[in-house]
Symmetry: C2
Subunit: 334 residues, 2 copies
């Protein structure tokens, strides 16, 4: 592989000149710059990223930590992130946390080898906060997604889940339902709690008593939704707000297996608006999260922090906090 020294030798200049020429820096005569670029092209030169990042202490890489890259839920977020990455020239390094303790390991590996310049951490089940202190302490830029974090220094973006739960439930109430159940998500996640809270508020506002019995525990997974719906069926509710679409798919199936019809016998409202939700039978009424925009925003925040640091400007000590709004998507399940 051709190195900067090879080019320097051929061009009859010093390696430092080649470096400057190729990096579009000041202090190189235009004619020599052209000559160097030409030679570099002929040699098929590409900078060795290890060498570069060893001296610059930057990797031009951003680490993305999420529960599971291959969950359909994340696909739009990833696309949004990639859009910004492509524009800014960053490489994205994905790592699945599977929501478990190993996350600490993963993070440590990413940040300690100086493999990444910054991190986006998606997910709200991060129980231990110690890694946040670690990142703060080490002064590594990061953005939390799907998580509202009170420390003012922390950048975070999240959806107004209380409002989303409220909107879903209120819609059912407006449709005339009074016996409305809820299939909750994994209660270790703040989003699950928030969506329940929204559900309760809508009920309260309509003067409907909240009953714990009408809330079935789920886990955000399809099969959990199926099981939860089976528990709810004997209770005779006419509508169910399900805390995410994946569980709603399971709920639809349980209802169909029971010989009941959606929405006539039971109306269903989901949450997330996955790609697939327009294809269910019947197509799912749901609360949309602007996942593409959230992914994009997370990377915009991070890259702009990185840019500030690079330019040496004093960055504001305060983190950016952005709350996104849910949107009701009416289809045919309610």
């Amino acid at each position: 592989m051709a190195t900067i020294k090879d080019i320097a030798r051929i061009a009859g200049v010093a390696p430092s000149v080649v470096s400057r020429a190729l990096n579009n820096k000041y202090g190189v005569k235009e004619s020599t710059r052209q000559r160097i670029i030409q030679i570099a092209r002929e040699l098929g030169y590409y900078p060795n990223s290890a060498a570069r990042s060893l001296v610059t202490r930057r990797s031009e890489t951003i680490g993305i930590v999420m529960a599971d890259i291959s969950e359909p839920f994340y696909s739009q977020s990833i696309k949004g992130m990639e859009y910004v990455a492509k524009q800014t020239g960053y490489t994205l390094l994905f790592s699945n946390s599977y929501e478990n303790v190993e996350q600490g390991q993963v993070l440590h590996k990413m940040i300690s080898g100086e493999r990444v310049d910054g991190l986006v951490i998606v997910g709200s089940n991060i129980q231990e906060k110690s890694f946040i202190s670690l990142l703060l302490e080490r002064d590594i830029p990061f953005v939390l997604v799907e998580r509202k974090f009170s420390d003012p220094r922390v950048n975070c973006i999240w959806l107004d889940n209380v409002k989303g739960g409220y909107m879903a439930t209120k819609y059912l109430i407006e449709k005339g339902h009074r016996r409305i159940g809820h299939i909750a998500g994994n209660l270790y996640f703040q989003v699950a709690l928030d969506r329940i809270e929204g559900y309760k508020r809508a009920l309260a506002e309509a003067g409907i008593d909240f009953s714990q019995e009408w809330v079935a525990a789920g886990d955000f997974l399809t099969h959990g939704g199926y099981r939860a719906m089976k528990e709810l069926l004997p209770l005779g509710c006419t509508a169910v707000f399900v805390a995410n679409d994946a569980m709603a798919y399971g709920a639809l199936r349980a209802i169909s297996e029971a010989g009941l019809k959606v929405p006539d016998d039971i109306a269903i409202v989901g949450f997330d608006d996955l790609e697939f939700s327009s294809l269910t039978n019947p197509p799912l009424t749901t609360i949309r999260q602007p996942r593409y925009e959230m992914g994009r925003k997370s990377l915009e925040i991070l890259t702009s922090i990185l840019r500030e640091r690079r330019s040496g400007d004093e960055a504001s000590p305060d983190g950016v906090k952005v709350c996104f709004q849910p949107e009701l998507i009416v289809r045919q399940s309610a």
Copy 2:
């Protein structure tokens, strides 16, 4: 950040000793090794990967190039790859090719900065073969997935798509169907052609005439399947073999909108067996691809080549070629 020198200073030894100790190499007294490891731990030491790969010329990273990381189709493959990566200590660097020409760019960037030690390239729409010559020429290990490539040096793994198409169609024939349509994939892909070929063979074997009219052009996407099914509906077929599940979802919808029932009016068989296919209405009968195993195998092949090279053994000049078998999954759509 603590470096090897810091550890050396504290331990009162030379940096080279620390390096050997931490890399479990011979030539370090056990007691000093322990002492060094202890100090490294206390300091929270992590090797700087840039420095290391600059000298070793290895990045311990494998690049994965696929059409679109966030397609549900790939989720199992990715999990299979990650399983091996975790076991062998490699980091996976994903890059979407979006099946387009930029792939050359992506690859170039990955291999030229010595960012990756090897590559897995998933997808069969790689029209230009030039990058394969490039990889071969540069002696960079790589594995092709979903693509049968004749050059004996090339490692590749693929599914027997002809057989899959044959199995799907034959199953419909055995169910008594004679008027069997086909919704094809994007014909620029070999897999689409192979599945058509299998369809034709099954028809021929049963003495059913093949008619071009019964084959509707699709694109492997849900909406394309929907459109194609609408074209097919007036032709009065009693069954359709759809070239992938994503299109089958669209087909199911078109049928349902036409007021027809699956499988009574029209039977449907898909291909791939995506996670979601057990949740459609009715659950989809389909041909399964062992995607997890294929992903796993691709990385096993690559890491074993990498291991051989590292140990300096002369690797066999012949590539590994593995053909996976499809499996019929009977549910309720046919």
